[in-house]
Symmetry: C2
Subunit: 156 residues, 2 copies
Amino acid sequence: MTNSKFDTMPAMIFARSSADWELDPLLARDTVAIGDMPLSRALLIKDATYPWLLLVPRRHEAIEIADLDTIEQAQLMSEIAHAGRTLKALTSCDKINVAALGNVVAQLHVHVIARSRSDAAWPKPVWNAVPPRDYDKAALDELLATLRQRLTLTPL
Amino acid sequence: MTNSKFDTMPAMIFARSSADWELDPLLARDTVAIGDMPLSRALLIKDATYPWLLLVPRRHEAIEIADLDTIEQAQLMSEIAHAGRTLKALTSCDKINVAALGNVVAQLHVHVIARSRSDAAWPKPVWNAVPPRDYDKAALDELLATLRQRLTLTPL
């Protein structure tokens, strides 16, 4: 059975593993874990101003998108699109903002943010725009439960 | 000859054409055209503060990344990675910033920006950070010539 060509497919598709990958402590501090997509850990930023996700590819020492191989890049884009569609369906927002900046935290991470014309920073980008606002605990739990259901294969 | 399976491959891969696509006038105003990648038009932002590219998928009415089909999304990611690698090799920058925001101009466009620890906005994102600075004409012409050679299949 182990000679079946299908048995080896996952290893071919994701040849590199998530071994040695650890979430950067600054990213961990500002987020709540949602769960794992095939490539990325999905996190929610602790700022109730906007529904704001972070996708962090579980690849050791990846800093730039070009540090991922081609199949991982395509997978990351597919996860970005899925996260954006999910946020849009959930929040009826006006626009999804997507960004991989990394000037402060080097570990490759992608922001996926639901923006509304009525939000505190619109139409400016969210960074340094307004101070973060705490989530109400019940609202946070409900949002996390929904995101875990719709977004991830493996809740943490 | 037209029955060869190879003749139809480009049409299968990019089933949708760039028909009816036109560059948004605001994006046109702030940029110089570099040329066309397979999916995106590559543009240089007229701001000498940072080497700053815009990639605009030539797809009518695309606003969100999720408006592209799966193969176009993968192609866009591949063009983003290629643009980032090219900028990094050319400028020896410290970090590539990638962003698809679109709060002001709806037409889907992706910023790919070469950031240096010594640039005027570091480590902040570039938007609204410092006023744009004009390129010296000779420097602009040289940068455009290099980018046309390394980045695009079809100089405009």
